[in-house]
Amino acid sequence: MATRTITLDPVTRIEGHLRIDAEVSNGQVSKAWSSAQMWRGLEIILRGKEPQDAWILAQRICGVCTTVHAIASIRSVEHALKVKLPLNAQFIRNIIMAQHSVQDHIVHFYHLSAMDWIDVLSALKADPKKTAALAQSLSDWPGNSETEFKAVQDKLTRFAASGKLGIFASGYWGHSAMKLPPEVNLMAVAHYLSALDYQRKAAQIVAVLGGKNPHIQNLVVGGVATAINVDNLATLNMERLSLIRTLMEETRDFVKKVYYPDVLAIAEAYKEWFKYGAGVTSYLAVPELPIDEDSKGFTLPGGIITKGDLANFRPVRTQADEYLINNIQESVAHAWFDGTAPLQPWKGETAPNYTDFKPDGKYSWCKAPRLAGQPVQVGPLAQILVGYAAGNGWVKPLVNEANAKLSIGIADYHSTMGRILTRGMRACIMADLSLEQLDKLISNIASGDQTYANPTEIPNGEFQGVGFHEAARGSLSHWMVFKNKKITNYQAVVPSTWNASPRDEQGAMGPYEASLVGTPVADPEKPLELLRTVHSFDPCIACAVHAVDPAGKEITTVKVL
């Protein structure tokens, strides 16, 4: 079979940010390129601003991961000035982070990733009674009733009859790579429709604690501005805290009784996808959910795994880990920026210079971050592998249970399905940890601690700091340099920069690119397999531009420089 090139370029569709080019020969991908098609101007906008306010603009980088950028930004100032955080502030931030992840994972799975595996047309043929029996065998979720599945199927049938099911026409239904039985498809579609109700509950929790959702209002350097007084109606009181608990329990139940069982069902049906999509098997996760005022102890461990070798992983014990800070550099060898040698982000430059897509030259707006010169993969897979290697009590039991259930081993995790499975595990852990952190917050308040912030003035002089956060999509870092109370340099190294990275000076591919090589493609006209692998990373090419197109055609108005 001849070699041909497939371009998945949503720029020609709507709000394009990410373009994937793949060369396919003999039915599988031989070369791949990942290209970010948007330039993010945050770094330039922040120059000259005051460091303590950067987080407010930083959370506008992207609409889905608002809070994570706010956290990383404020942490960069706290790192620079060596500020400690009161326990109450740690717990409140931890809850916001954990619930944001729950919300994010639910939406990613059902509204982006699941449709690569579910055939909605096949759901029309399902027997609702058998579907209910199947779903009830997986969990005791009350929504898994024959009546519910029948109602969803009727709705789909009506949409199909009126020609409206064409709304999903971009999904590759009927594709030979789709193989779930009709009943599993119907179950998953029903859950897809209810998922939005649960992401909403998680959003509500963030809004109660953070002042507003999606853009939280409650951060200050040294803590949070959330006022809690268990007896005062004007502040966050017992009634609001008990509302939060109820919402957390509801989202936890959805994650554990619906989302995770659906992930396991898809993993079981598509087991061969534990063989594809490994790509870069070096990983980075930073420790997250600090448990003390000094941010020395963390609930979930950080670490660096080199080339899949879990036995010799290198722990990253704090977010101020010097090895980590000193070994992150960004290359622009294949990115549309001027510059020569790779630079550490504090010295990073943002000098855009667009020169068209050149597969052997520059082809992306994404810089290529490297850890000690090597590409690394970040995300839930990295965090779960590091947690497993470290023997973490939240991670290890889930992994062991999944391995037994699916008859897989830890080596199978370096794969497309491994990323989907571990994201489901991470959602379970974050849902549980939200409640654990809420208990800690309430008992700390009950013990008489009324401190929420260590108020911090920005001093004159020059400082540099880095704020790390293990976010829903992986390790995030904001790097800030400020002088006499004004920002002089700002660089955000986001999870998708690590994963969507282009090649570097040595020609080493980034994780998306490497993961696609070797992927089988049954029909180059419908490259469903490529989408499965790219979606498994949960791509987030920040800077969402989303002009509405009244004609309903596929467009973008993004003007690249």
């Binding site: 971009s170 959003a203 987030c540 969402a544 531009v545 002009a547 509405v548 309903g552």
Partner: protein, 160 residues
């Protein structure tokens, strides 16, 4: 009747952030009754579906990719801008307002009264302020919307 004014946009890309700038302007310049909610949706996409579903009438403020002079405002009713299919996506960030409405429709919860007030942008280059053209138009557009609320919903709305 619960009315939602839904401002969408990316605040870091000048005119792209028009919807958010408009929400802020309305907050500062008008006293709106309790059943009118101003919502700064940023670029939340799908994750804002519940805000729409919990309202009886929605006004979306956004930029539109239409031909014409920058600053021109186009008004659309629901049927005018509903998509007839979900386009291929590589990222959840690409799910915009139109996809959100479509999924809401499938859930059977999308309100009937949804209007889009779309303004044609002058620039979407990085920047945290509106272009002079849109800056100048903003008060007029806000007043038009407030007048519509006064006329169609019989609300009394005072300026601040």
């Amino acid at each position: 009747m619960k009315i939602l004014i839904f401002g969408a946009g990316n605040l870091l890309l000048s005119d792209e952030g028009f919807g958010v700038h408009a929400i802020r302007y309305l907050e500062q310049h008008y006293r709106l009754p309790e059943d009118v909610e101003l919502f700064d949706a940023g670029t939340l996409g799908l994750m804002a579906t519940h805000k729409i579903e919990e309202s009886d009438r929605v006004y979306l403020l956004d930029v539109v990719a239409a031909e014409g002079e920058p600053g021109t405002v186009l008004r659309y009713a629901k049927a005018d801008f509903m998509l007839n299919r979900v386009p291929l996506k590589l990222s959840p960030h690409q799910a915009g307002v139109q996809e959100m409405l479509l999924i809401s429709e499938l859930r059977g919860r999308c309100p009937r009264d949804i209007f889009l007030l779309g303004v044609i942008p002058a620039t979407t280059e990085p920047g945290e302020t509106l272009s002079p053209v849109l800056q100048k138009r903003l008060p007029e557009i806000a007043e038009t919307l407030v007048n519509e609320l006064r006329a169609s919903a019989g609300l009394s709305i005072a300026s601040r």
